[in-house]
């Protein structure tokens, strides 16, 4: 039990770090494409780690399943939206940033 709890805390903290990194990237990166990159890290990995950490504490398999479905849905939405926005931005002629 204690090990499970510790692992859960570690996973949740790691997830929070990714969310923080995503926000930081959103604020600091120079153009829309790089910001998309930062955003998807928070979406995919950050939420994934959080879901893993919470699943260790969940009381039933149904709850674990629901958590997993939520994560998969966010993955789907995140990937599609990132693609759509990036494609639209390129079409509109926003030039990718170069050093």
């Amino acid at each position: 039990m204690a090990i499970g709890e510790l692992l859960s805390i570690l996973l949740l903290l790691a997830g929070a770090v990714f969310f923080f990194a995503g926000t930081l990237g959103l604020l600091r990166f120079p153009d829309i494409y790089t910001r998309l990159h930062a955003l998807t890290k928070a979406d995919n990995v950050g939420l994934g780690l959080m879901v893993a950490g919470l699943a260790l504490q969940a009381d039933s398999m149904a709850a674990v399943g629901k958590l997993t479905v939520i994560w998969l849905l966010v993955l789907l939405a995140g990937a599609s939206v990132a693609h759509l926005i990036a494609a639209a931005a390129r079409q509109r002629g926003i030039v990718p940033w170069k050093r």
């Binding site: 604020l27 955003l39 939420l47 629901k66 966010v74 939405a77």
Partner: protein
């Protein structure tokens, strides 16, 4: 454990507030939309943490709704708000 969940939820909320800067500054409309997307994901995480902290499994359903609907607004943006501007740009 409950305190830890709340602290984490608070941390994510503060993240969200800091991210608001990108909505205010832009510069492009897509940047603002993108930030709204990040807010959606952050809210999902906060809701899942609160579901555990407040011991209300029903909150996971709300997170599920957010996850399901996360794409709809962005699709509206890409399909309606941007193409319109582009089409009429071409006419000028």
């Amino acid at each position: 454990m409950e305190v830890f969940y709340f602290a984490l939820a608070l941390f994510l909320l503060l993240n969200l507030i800091v991210g608001m800067w990108r909505v205010l500054r832009g510069p492009t409309a897509a940047d603002r939309m993108l930030t709204a997307q990040l807010f959606g994901t952050t809210s999902v995480a906060v809701l899942l943490l609160l579901a555990q902290a407040m011991e209300q499994p029903a909150l996971r359903d709300i997170a599920l709704l957010f996850a399901l609907l996360a794409a709809v607004t962005a699709v509206a943006f890409v399909r309606r708000a941007w193409p319109q501007a582009e089409r009429e740009d071409g006419n000028r």
